[in-house]
Amino acid sequence: MKQPDDVLPKWSIRFLNAVCPDYLAEEIEGDLLQKYQFDIERYGARKARKKLVWNILSFSHPSILLRNTISFRTTQTIMLKNYFITALRASQRQKLYSLINVAGLSVGLASVLLIGIYIADEARYDRHIPDAERIYRVGINETFKGDEILYSSTSAPLAAAMQAEMPDVEAVVRVADIDNPVRYHDKAFIEKRFLVADSNFFEFFGQDLIEGNAKECLKGPQKIVLSRSAAEKYFGYKGSGESPVGKQLIVGRDAKLTEVTGIFEDVPAATHMKYDMVLSMESIPFATNECWGCYGAKTYFKTYHQKGTEEIDRKLDVFAQQRIVPGIEKDLGISHDQFVRSGDHVSFFIQPLLSIHLQSNLTNEFEANGDIRYVYIFGITAIFLTVIACINFMNLATARAVSRAKEVGVRKTMGATRHGLIPQFLMESLLYVFVAGVLAVILTYIALGPFNDLTGKTLRLDLLSNRYVVPSLIVFLVVVALLAGTYPAFHLTAFSPAKVLKGNSLHSRERSFLRSTLVVVQFTISMALIVGTMIIYKQVRFIRDHNLGFDKENILRIPQTYVLGDHCLTFKDELMKHAGFANASFAQALPPNILSTVFLKVKGSQQLVGTYLCAADQDLVATMGYEMKSGRYFSRDFLSDSSAVVINEACAKLLGVEDHEGKQVGFADDDMYTVIGIMKDFNFESLKSEVQPLAIFLNPEVNRTLAVRLTPGDMQEKIAFAEATWKKYANGQPFEYSFVDEDFDSLFRAEQRLGTVFAAFTVLAILIACLGLFGLITYTAAQRTKEIGIRKILGATAGQVAVLLLSDLVRLVLISFVIAIPLAWYGMEQWLQSFAYRTDFDLFSVLIAGACGLLIAVGAVGYRSFKAASVNPVESLKNE
């Protein structure tokens, strides 16, 4: 009979010894063997063998492994302590080396931490809402003439219809946002974080009230619920004392008395829907609107389970086809067949709540959402920075091999095994990484303030806020330490002691090739980042300086002038008496906020053109500085102008009108206006799109927004005057204003921030890479001390030697440059695609980036190599 011992494979004994505590190993092995014999009889040899292997492997169960810890510690602590002491000594012996390593690593780690906090914050949006993964928002897709418009607002009757006809839907809520004036005695503000919502709003989003009843507070018209800070702003509410509940606020343009029925805790910053006030839906006529084609409020719904939503999608499509489309066909006066044939379509679509912040960019969002692409860009940058920092560590460690090789040789002669030495070197890198980690946390605390200013966020580094933060940080540090330390550890411990101690040269071609490759990787990343930063800056500047087609400077925009009521014209006239105001005009909306759209057609033609629409008085062109291509703008001298229209070039082109003379344009054949002029195109939207068609109709009574052209000079004095005049007529309603050029700038805030943040990280990346280079050249120079000495004795000048040392480096930087260009070009082309007006990826900025990279690299190491080259050869050759 075969001795049972043979059947347990050798590896399994090793495995079991590693996995199981010593006091258990014997019986486990015995049991395994006995079970194996038993299995052979029962199942046959093959299956028994399989079961044996599986049985052995499954002993790596945590509850077996964890029984190990005590014995493991006792055997290893002595060596661990020794490793630690050796690592400390090594780092003290090489102060410059340690400094460079720790500095590079800590800056890199701090940047990664910052980016990590940023990404974690972006990903956290709306996750505080209970059942968020079961909540969706309905949007509308309207496609006309191939032009797709995605609305986040939907029809008023949709919510009730969904609730009634979809069994999968648990609850539906409608939410609208309106900027509304709110007043309590002398405290008056225009509230921008103002919602109007159905009565189940707080229940739906799982929000508790501090005061009031969440289920009842929004029932009935003119009920309002305030956030804690809004309650404090208006009523001085501090959480105790007199409660504002039951008091009356004056709300809205029609100044209605509204009862405060509750108070909620301020909403967190990480939500796409930020609000300080919620008014009951029944307060506005939209609540009972029957029109399916009018989009006014966002519709959120919650499903019972997190199953697929195909059924809901299908029913929504039926709603769109049966309830919205017929209305449109009636408006356009076409049959259903004509509508279908035209290729136009209207449909609902749904978005998971959690995807809204990063992936949704519809018209009328609550706020400009984040962008998943920027999250990716930052994430990749973080990885790059880690890579650069790790490469520094590896490069310096291998470059230092000469001095460490002797140490390894001696240790090995004294009896150290390679397996004993590898942990020692890993311990060293762990030590560096953890010191750098602690520094990085401190750096991050310091940098968080400026970083928040750059990104416009309110991020905090709170290590204890979440029990995952510290463990994941430690895991990350260990990964970095292994990444950076593994290669040097294996490389350095591989030397044969005989060769090393005999003084054989360690110049291995393989090693210096690896080092060069790593430097090339570092510089490729740095250069690509430089090019990227330059292109982003160029694009932002391009957009800002881009001629919009009118003079956007010095235009003051005063919104919500309707609160002045009958005094609108008096207000305007009084402003005009002041020398600082050149012109003023009332309009429905000003660029970049023109949002209304309508269909126009030429008389007798069937072709409809979707255009933007604006109503204005006779002074708009003079105030805004728009230019006419042909014809004239509205004038008080022509009474017939009330039935006239002015269109822009883009609109004229789409309508097929070359010349305005005698053309009639309107909404239907019996509703026509005379075209009296064509305006030159000007941009009234973000420069991400081409100039859209626009039609301006005359309405001398329009009173929504006042545009005021200021003369250059002291702005503060003029604004103060406007405010004083406003106060005379506004009956306590708040005065607000903005400048049109700033309104345009704010459209590109995300890009501007991207540019600045990107630039900051680029500088850091270059800094870390240069630190690495500096260290590298120091050690190469040290290695080549004798060579330099001999060259100098044979007549080389210090300059020649320095150039020799530098030339390797310059070659590497040039190679990285060649690799970086296509990478940067590809990446930036992708980004630029999202702009209609974009700058080119030009050779000039690329060359600048290359020159910068080279200059910085040479600057970082030039001094060092020159110093090495100017050492007196007597010094370098006397030690032998």
């Binding site: 049991d31 499954s58 169960h61």
Partner: protein, 107 residues
């Protein structure tokens, strides 16, 4: 005690230890379960459960004799403690009590 909860597998192993008496060790329990209950289990799960029961004080163990089919390796013999026996009884009684509450349906 009494509040301590036993899982189904733990209860099974504890019962086996009680049943096998002086011959209760990992492999024997595993083999018995496979032959009696026709249930395939891994050896490690038996061991893990035995150690856990020992931690809870429901079984005790001592190192026993070796046989040639174990390659000369010794066994660890488990015996049930008074506590374990009490636990087992309590569980059985509560089972019966519950079972009596089930209406006697025709089967």
């Amino acid at each position: 005690m009494g509040k301590e909860y036993l899982g189904e597998f733990e209860e099974l192993i504890l019962t086996m230890v009680a049943a096998l008496q002086d011959d209760a060790y990992g492999a024997a329990i595993a083999m018995k379960i496979e032959t009696e209950l026709k249930r395939e289990i891994t050896l490690s799960s038996v061991h893990i459960t035995l150690y856990r029961l020992e931690d809870k004080g429901l079984v005790q163990s001592k190192v026993g004799g070796a046989t040639s089919e174990r390659g000369g390796r010794r066994k660890r013999i488990f015996t049930i403690t008074r506590q374990g026996l009490g636990m087992l009884k309590a569980m059985k009684e509560s089972r019966i009590q519950l079972w009596n509450m089930v209406p006697q349906l025709k089967m």
